[in-house]
Amino acid sequence: MRKTLLFLALPLALAACHHDEQAAQSGADATFEANLQQQLLDAKPGSVIDIPAGHYHLQRGLSLRTDGVTIKGAGMDKTVLSFKGQVVGPEGLLVNANDFTIENLALEDTKGDALKINQGKNITIRGVRVEWTGGPKTTNGAYGLYPVKTQNVLIEDSVVIGASDAGIYVGQSHTIVVRRNRAEYNVAGIEIENSVNADVYENTATHNTGGILVFNMPNLSQAGHSTRVFKNQVIDNNTDNFAAKGAAVASVPRGSGVVVNSNDKVEIFDNDIVDSQTANVIISSYFSTNYYNTKGVAADYNPYPKGIFIYDNRFKGGGDSPDGLKFKTLKTAVYGLNGKFPDILWDGYVDEKSLVDGLPPANDRFCIQNGDVGVINADGPHDYKNPSTDTKPYQCTLPKLPPVVLDPEPKA
């Protein structure tokens, strides 16, 4: 394996002097940036680009188009690439390649997305921190870790803070494992969108607007299905929604734990879902986003969530201060001024044409096996006029999804 050592002579002292708010790029930073760009251009399959500890200011987004490259830092708090003074973007790092690994470094304050991997298979993101250091702001970049149109993807032991859309966002991909990450102060902590076969487990999602999202958007290359969300800590996701309007996640109410929108075959089990003030779990259709219009949405798009199975989670708190006038009014109407929503909120949209004796076909049902957990059907289709708290319609089970197996397994 080729191994390329980067700038042995780079002064380590640099790390100490970058706590100011200036985005100024020093001569050493400029040299670093040019050398790093050169390494990315020169990379061959098998190249390992080592970036030593240090805090480096970059002006320009980086990109890589060679298969089989590994980028390694000295640790997510030791090797920091800061894009605070970025003049060319939009990403921090854009990758269009297969067999890519990035680990143990941080990307800070990119103008747009931090790490975008567009088209590629066998992608490993490990121990990467993405952070917008000024806290949650609409002007922060949209996505933190952002593989799209990829397959065989592992994101683990990473941290994403402050994304104005989704911290970890896997889109239009398949065979995905997202585990042991921490997502906080993003609009969406972790989002799986239009993807097939994803396991999301042992993550901590906290202080986001919505903790973990599984969405299907219209007009894209594939419809998503088969995601398992399990063993996660989804806690106190009550940050005000700071997404720009029009972004899909702008429709997510503050205080959402796990949200499924228009996606199919989603299993939510064995999670701790705690203190999300709108609801700990929300199941909804694309109609509730207010973006649905017949001109702009493909005719074959299915906006209904189908085959949703929720079981054995540990719910606590939440539902006590829902976001938005409609939900507040609904909560007060059904549960009283001091009452709270139950743990599961369903917007109530269902494909009427598919119903058999008033219920969806067996495998399309919405099933709950979670003790005496409450559910409210908000009756969205009739503007919340006739909500129902009856839990009988959800007393069913669904076949469990098999675990996602990465093949090939990522390099350790």
């Binding site: 251009l41 060319v88 939009p90 567009n118 949209a142 958007m217 290359s221 309007k245 029009g246 001109k295």
Partner: protein, 380 residues
């Protein structure tokens, strides 16, 4: 070829040769990256002018990509005895050995500093067909696209301040300049030379194969007249005449994009031509932006694929608080002109290749959206 055409061709060749007898022949570099632009002998500085070597044919596009108001001298050269195969839709099938160059430059302002450059589209005073008078222009960069056995390679060169040659700049450059308009209003900006990999961001129009291709030399962009040294002529016809293109129909039978600035053309044709060249290299069914479901090349029908009432997918704050890419009749509620009207790296589109707003381009797209009827009504 008729006898008279042959004679004309020979005569032109002789005339051209006379101008460039001190230049070494164009050097197709089969591999590597020569350190100086002059190593290619495509365009070279001679006697205060940037001149074109023998066989180097200049061309223009009906509607060009906007690059911070830079003017562009585009050229094409091919080895003897080979030609490109015509295609009605895609980039012509150029033979190995083809060298395409694009030199970005600005007219200088009267009495201005060297970093003061004119904000103008008027290229009529540039004499680009015969070369550029260095006392009148500021050369910024020249990009070489060379077709090798291994495929196309993109190699960027940045001009030295003394304008004597351009030097290899694989990692690109950031060059502070000031745009000065004809009322002397000034706008400082960073002209950004892309690095080699960023070149591919636009030139790889298929993000699975990742192969790069020239963008401009397509029938619809070249089907126009050019002011050659020997007089005006249709570019397709000229390329056929000099032997660089085979299989082309008569220009009247080839597709032709509108000139975005030609007010005799329909608003729709101008807007679609503008979106095609500025956006279609990524926003096509195989391109980098196919993740968005938005297609902006000239072939897309006028429906949601073009963005009409289409909710954005991954625009993030690039939505500018708007719900749809295009709201017919409502340009100020539409995402497309919002992103075009930004120079912020996290918001603007295209995301590379400019640091300033193309005001006239924004005005065109806004006028086009304003002319559409309908609106977008959400259903619940």
């Amino acid at each position: 070829m008729t006898l008279s055409t042959k004679l004309f061709f020979l005569l032109s060749l002789l005339l051209l040769t006379a101008c460039h007898r001190d230049l070494d022949p164009v050097a197709f570099q089969a591999d590597g990256r020569p350190p100086k632009l002059s190593d290619w002998h495509v365009v070279e500085v001679r006697d205060g002018k940037l001149v074109l070597n023998q066989g180097v044919v200049p061309y223009d596009l009906n509607t060009p990509l906007f690059t911070d108001y830079a003017h562009k001298l585009r050229t094409i050269w091919m080895p003897k005895g080979v030609s490109a195969k015509y295609d009605p839709t895609d980039t012509f099938d150029f033979p190995v050995g083809t060298v395409i160059s694009k030199t970005f430059y600005y007219p200088r302002t009267a009495d201005g500093k060297f970093s003061d450059v004119a904000r103008t589209f008027d290229t009529s005073k540039d004499f680009a067909g015969e070369g550029l008078d260095l006392s009148q222009v500021h050369l910024v960069e020249t990009r070489i696209l060379v077709h090798r056995e291994s495929g196309w390679a993109a190699i960027p060169y940045v001009w030295k301040d003394d304008q004597s040659d351009a030097m290899l700049a694989r990692t690109g450059a950031v060059i502070p300049l000031t745009l000065v308009d004809d009322k002397a209003a000034r706008e400082d900006f960073n002209y950004v030379v892309p690095d080699e990999s960023q070149c591919s961001s636009c030139h790889a129009q298929d993000w699975v194969s990742r192969k790069i291709h020239p963008i401009g030399p397509k029938a619809r962009h070249l089907n126009r007249d050019y002011h050659y040294a020997a007089g005006d002529e249709n570019e397709l016809a000229h390329l056929v005449k000099v032997g660089y293109l085979s299989g082309a129909p008569a220009p009247a039978d080839a597709p032709r994009n509108a000139n975005w600035a030609d007010e005799h053309a329909s608003l729709d044709a101008r807007a679609r031509a503008y979106l095609d060249i500025n956006c279609g290299h990524c926003h096509n069914p195989k391109g980098a932006a196919n993740t968005t479901g938005l297609t902006l090349d000239v072939s897309v029908p006028e429906d949601r694929h073009l963005g009409i009432c289409k909710p954005p997918v991954a625009a993030g704050r690039g939505t500018g608080d708007h719900l749809f890419d295009i709201v017919p009749g409502q340009p100020d509620d539409s995402i497309l002109p919002f992103r075009m009207n930004s120079a912020d790296p996290g918001t603007m589109m295209p995301e590379l290749g400019r640091s300033t707003v193309h005001r006239e381009g924004v005005a065109l797209i806004k006028a086009w959206i304003a002319s559409q009827s309908g609106g977008c009504v959400a259903i619940h």
